[in-house]
């Protein structure tokens, strides 16, 4: 009661020291990119352009939310790009086959969406079970499925392109091109996935267990946690996130080919790492991943708008930023 006021109110300096500066680096990078972008081109800060950036970020972002679980759990999933391509191809073939029958076009699209979500879960479960029950390194398993899914989509497309029936495109189109309250549907979807992911990761037992397993699997096992089950579920979540991204992606081009989703796995992993999640597992944040995905999309956008650097150097800039992000993390995790 009689404590001096000064003791109760922390000084500014003490408050500043308590701010987790290192966790804020991704955010600082994002702000920096926004400043650079607005200086480069007057059209940059328009809502059209920024929504365009967010819409493009949505695919990688949604996949990266799933990737955050996998990586925090101490794993890695290299197969997401191929999985997206395969699911896209399979979805289009199924919908084309059903079209013209007794089912309305809307019904066909809904069946297609259901099939993709179900297949995503199964594909994720296959990765997860091979890793946990088969006791094979995640890198190896998902490198294998990366090849498998990629070759399956090439086979389905017979080396060419699988195109969605035009009548179906008209029905499906709004899922990518539509907007709700002025905000594009993919951006809504990204936001919903991110919020649900954040709640799951930070507020539930499952999320806590994922972090515990990534931090020290043996401690988790001795604490009576079902390590294999939790770890498998992280891959199932990853598969589901890939499926959601596919649902948004297919109406964009209405086609799938052997080159669909190429290098998405790298961008998704990059978004997770730029967002401050430790590659060795144990800790990380969904919001960081969201920032990471938006940053990657912004880099492409800024390079498009400027003539100073060729847009073909997009990969170079992204690569430098990824390496830089990990370099910044080192101070936190070294020892």
């Amino acid at each position: 009661m009689s404590q001096p006021e000064a003791a109760a109110v922390p000084t500014w300096r003490a408050r500043l020291r308590r701010v987790p500066w290192q966790q804020l680096t991704p955010l600082a990078g994002l702000v920096l990119l926004l400043i650079v972008g607005s200086l480069i081109h007057p059209a940059f800060l328009t809502s059209t352009n920024l929504f365009n950036v967010l819409t493009r970020a949505a695919f990688i972002g949604i996949i990266a939310v799933g990737g955050t679980f996998v990586i925090i759990g101490g794993g890695i999933d290299l197969s997401v790009g191929s999985m997206a391509a395969f699911l896209s191809g399979a979805m289009i073939l199924l919908m084309n086959a059903l079209h013209g029958g007794a089912i309305s076009p809307l019904g066909v699209v809904l069946i297609g969406v259901g099939m993709v979500l179900g297949s995503g879960l199964l594909a994720g479960a296959a990765n997860g079970l091979a890793i946990t029950r088969g006791r094979i390194e995640p890198f190896i398993v998902t490198l294998g499925t990366l090849g498998i899914f990629r070759s399956l989509v090439t086979y389905l497309a017979d080396g060419g392109t699988i195109s969605l029936n035009f009548a179906l495109r008209g029905v499906y189109r709004p899922v990518f091109y539509g907007a709700f309250l002025g905000i594009p549907i993919p951006v809504w979807a990204f936001a919903v996935v991110a919020v649900l992911g954040a709640i799951l990761l930070h507020r539930t037992r499952f999320g806590r267990y994922v972090r515990a397993i990534g931090s020290n699997q043996e401690v988790a096992r001795y604490a009576a946690i079902r390590v294999a089950r939790v770890r498998t579920l992280t891959y199932v979540i990853q598969g589901l996130c890939v499926a959601i991204a596919v649902v948004l992606y297919v109406p964009r081009l209405g086609s799938a080919s052997a080159s669909t989703g190429i290098l998405w796995e790298l961008e998704a992993i990059a978004a997770v790492i730029i967002g401050g999640t430790a590659l060795k597992g144990g800790s990380g944040h969904i919001w960081g991943t969201v920032v990471g995905a938006i940053m990657l999309s912004l880099i492409g956008n800024v390079l498009n708008l400027t003539t100073a650097i060729s847009e073909y150097l997009n990969g170079t800039v992204q690569g430098l930023i990824i390496i830089g992000a990990v370099f910044m993390q080192r101070g936190r995790q070294g020892r």
Partner: protein
């Protein structure tokens, strides 16, 4: 012994970590050809003193004197170059390199710009031969037993012209036979004039091997004595500074009507345990004694579903089959691991997350209630007397004793009625030990059954109502705790005595090599 000039001396050595001084103006000298033991309770400053002398730390006051010259080792490499080598408890070898590659790591002999493996191999083989150690030089260290790896460490030290060999609890990970081999080697080294500085808490070993003993207590030197002038009891009294009688709570025997809480019959853990049978009542401490490698930990890990096992297990008289630790948890059985840092705590996580990890379902409805967790942490910290300035720190920041209290608190939040404690006081100070012993008594009063696995016989004798002794994967005897003495337990632990197990045939168990982590 002829008093020769000491190789290495410490004069007025003090050491502080931050504001806390852990060693207060200690004098010590190490003479050629002697085994000089440093003994004391945990936290007495033995390891710190050893690290000052071998260049791992720099003293905050006082001097390290080498051959009469005050010296400041820049780091441990400088000390090694001067012939002062410290062998860590966690051996410092590269597991995937061969014996020869490890011995010459960083100073490989060269010929025409390439590593001369032949020369290195010959030199290593010669070295091992002079140490009379039979370790193949081309074997990878990963494939060696702990004792063999230790021999390689010693060979490495000898190849660097060691003059003072510092060993920190070297026999902790060795079996009795391996300890004998190590002592043989120590005797040969001292015969060549090498001085051995030896930290141990096993007083019988100190009596057997050391010429002189320096006793430390709470960072002060109590004195240096010729071993021949001391009895182990005197040594212990000087280490602790008080009588040990009040270390243990009075034993209260459960009545004969106390029901069996956990019964294990004919349990096999492939590669480790054969046909183990034991049982513990509610309100009883069942001690499990045996040498390192006897299979005690593996036996209970098998019971709990932490490793494959077959045999019959009953909980409260009901047959159970635990395939996963979660099954055991649901049947209210908890296991305190002997590997606190590797299996007990998420070192980089906060205490809050650690303490609720095993009972998180009690805090999630369905979202984890951080406030309830925090309240549980505060209650646990109070109940277990976790002494820290603040609770919002990582587990790694705690001392060993406090860490053990947090792990114990984590188990107890699951409200078990059978608690298996595996080396519960390893590496913790005497005050905390006593607290843990009295906590065990509290649990007994509540009707909890306790299994106490321990390599500290005094602890087993002080707490256990009955003692199961294991040797080489088998239960060799089940003894009454009253009037039991160390000699009897050791006779069973070393396999000299064994009571016939009920209805089990003799068959040799598989020899299991333990590999350094």
């Amino acid at each position: 012994m002829v008093a020769r000039e000491p190789i290495l001396r410490g004069t007025g050595l003090s050491m502080a970590f931050g504001p806390i001084e852990v060693l207060h103006a200690v004098d010590v000298d190490v003479r050629p050809g002697e085994v000089h033991a440093l003994v004391g309770e945990n936290g007495a400053g033995k390891s710190t003193l050893m690290k000052l002398l071998s260049g791992y730390h720099r003293p905050t006051a006082g001097d390290v004197v080498l051959d009469g010259q005050p010296t400041r080792f820049r780091d441990s490499n400088a000390a090694e170059a001067a012939g002062i080598v410290l062998i860590h408890q966690e051996l410092n070898l590269v597991p995937d390199l061969t014996v020869e590659e490890n011995v010459f790591l960083g100073r490989e002999p060269h010929r025409f710009g390439l590593v001369d493996r032949g020369a290195a191999r010959r030199a290593t083989a010669e070295l091992l031969a002079t140490l009379r150690t039979e370790v193949p030089v081309t074997r990878r260290v990963r494939e060696l037993s702990v004792s063999q790896a230790q021999m390689v460490e010693i060979a490495k030290a000898v190849s660097r012209k060691v003059r003072v060999l510092c060993m920190d609890e070297p026999t902790d990970v060795l079996t009795g036979r391996e300890t004998e081999v190590l002592f043989d080697l120590v005797r040969r080294l001292t015969a060549d004039g090498v001085a051995i500085l030896y930290v141990s808490h096993k007083l019988d070993e100190v009596m057997a091997i050391a010429d002189r003993v320096t006793i430390l207590r709470d960072g002060d030197k109590i004195g240096t004595f010729a071993t021949a002038d001391l009895t182990p009891a005197e040594m212990a009294r000087r280490m602790v500074g008080r009588d040990l009688a009040d270390m243990y709570p009075p034993k209260v025997r459960p009545g004969p009507e106390a029901p069996w809480a956990l019964e294990v019959e004919g349990l096999d853990v492939p590669g480790f345990v054969r046909g183990a049978t034991l049982a513990v009542r509610r309100g009883e401490v069942l001690g499990v004694a045996g040498l390192v490698g006897a299979g005690r930990t593996e036996l209970f890990e098998g019971v709990l579903g932490l490793r494959p096992a077959h045999g019959s297990v009953r909980k409260d008289g009901r047959p159970v089959r635990w395939r996963h630790p979660e099954d055991a948890k649901l049947d209210r059985v908890a296991y305190l691991t002997e590997d606190r840092k590797g299996k007990g705590l998420l070192l980089s996580k906060q205490l809050r997350e650690n303490v609720t990890l095993q009972s998180l379902e009690r805090f999630a409805r369905p979202f984890v209630d951080l406030r309830a967790e925090q309240a549980a942490l505060e209650r646990s910290a109070k109940e277990f007397d976790v002494r820290v300035a603040r609770l919002d720190i990582e587990a790694a920041a705690l001392s060993g004793g406090n860490q053990q209290k947090v792990v114990l608190a984590k188990l107890m939040l699951t409200e078990p009625d059978v608690v298996i404690l595996d080396e519960p006081t390893r590496g913790i100070d005497i005050g905390t030990k006593r607290q843990i012993y009295f906590y065990v008594a509290e649990l007994l009063a509540r009707g909890v059954a306790i299994v106490l696995i321990s390599s500290e016989l005094s602890e087993i004798l002080g707490l256990a109502h009955r003692v199961v002794v294991m040797h080489d994967g088998r239960v060799t005897g089940t003894l009454d705790g009253d009037g039991l003495d160390e000699e009897t337990v050791m006779a069973y632990a070393t396999g000299l005595r064994r009571d016939p197990p009920p209805g089990l045939q003799e068959a040799p168990t598989q020899e299991v090599d333990r590999v350094p982590a």
